[in-house]
């Protein structure tokens, strides 16, 4: 059975109220959703809270999921809107932390901490939609089409955000060397 069929089966079971099926969906997609939100918010603890809220919202609204995008994309979209609204209401732009950078330092193929710090700082300066597009496409490996569906933006706008965001991040790495 393919991954897509498995996911469809789990969604049908979760809609019937089977919490184990929904737990399996959370288990399968938490890494991508949390990864995206951690990169987008720049604040590890807040991002995990938002991811949790996004999954609970998805559970409540599962009947509204039409299957036009993947489940992962749908939950990322819910999380993006919660995070964006929270930033608007609390003006949390300056509340970014970098604790997670140090915690992921023991990965076998980890990039130097200086590079990751420079990138995190540069990410914080990007506009919300540009940062979200970069986090999705360059960070979590979503396609441009998926990112456009998640962010509810035209495909061309997403491509442009990713290109411009990438240029600014590259510039930040160059500046960090100097």
């Amino acid at each position: 059975m393919t991954e897509t069929h498995d996911e469809a089966r789990l969604i049908v079971a979760a809609r019937r109220g089977e919490s184990r099926a929904f737990a399996a969906l959370v288990d399968a997609h938490q890494q991508a959703v949390r990864g995206f939100l951690r990169r987008f918010t720049g604040h590890w603890a807040d991002a995990d809270d938002i991811a949790q809220e996004a999954f609970v919202t998805a559970w409540r609204k599962l009947d509204a999921f039409e299957g036009r995008s993947s489940f992962r994309s749908w939950v990322c979209g819910i999380g993006f809107r919660i995070a964006r609204d929270a930033r608007r209401s609390h003006n949390r732009a300056s509340a970014r932390d970098t604790d997670w950078l140090a915690e992921s330092d023991d990965a076998p193929d980890a990039a130097p901490i200086e590079d990751r710090m420079a990138l995190a700082a540069a990410m914080a300066t990007l506009p919300d939609e540009q940062r979200a597009a970069v986090a999705l496409c360059l960070g979590e490996g979503f396609s441009h089409t998926e990112a456009a569906a998640i962010l509810k933006l035209p495909l061309g706008t997403v491509k442009s955000h990713v290109t411009r965001g990438r240029e600014r991040l590259l510039k930040a790495l160059e500046t960090n060397d100097g």
Partner: protein, 101 residues
């Protein structure tokens, strides 16, 4: 290493764990709490609807039987007690069903 490779390496590294049972449990705990809250609210609303319907039926009866005061009072108290028991039973069964699911 050139900047492109450094960027890919720094951005491509996963920033969240592949498996995290604690996170999954936290989500499911909140999800179950949300479902219980919804089920309880629905049970209360159904009960309130039932009570309103009973009251609407009782008003004409009260109007026509206003002459027999004592008998009417004891009847109303008995009906109120029965209604309270029915509502409590509905809320408890709603809660049990939510927990079972």
């Amino acid at each position: 290493m050139d900047e492109e490779a450094r960027l890919s390496r720094a951005l491509g590294a996963p920033v969240a764990p592949k498996r995290d049972a604690r996170f999954v449990l936290a989500v499911m705990r909140d999800a179950e709490a949300a479902r219980f809250k919804k089920a309880s609210l629905l049970a209360v609303l159904r009960g309130a609807g039932f009570a309103a319907a009973a009251a609407a039926l009782a008003v004409p009866f009260l109007g026509s039987a206003s002459a027999g005061g004592a008998a009417l009072q004891s009847g109303a108290v008995g009906a109120g007690a029965l209604l309270t028991l029915v509502l409590a039973w509905r809320v408890m069964t709603g809660r049990a069903a939510a927990v079972r699911r």
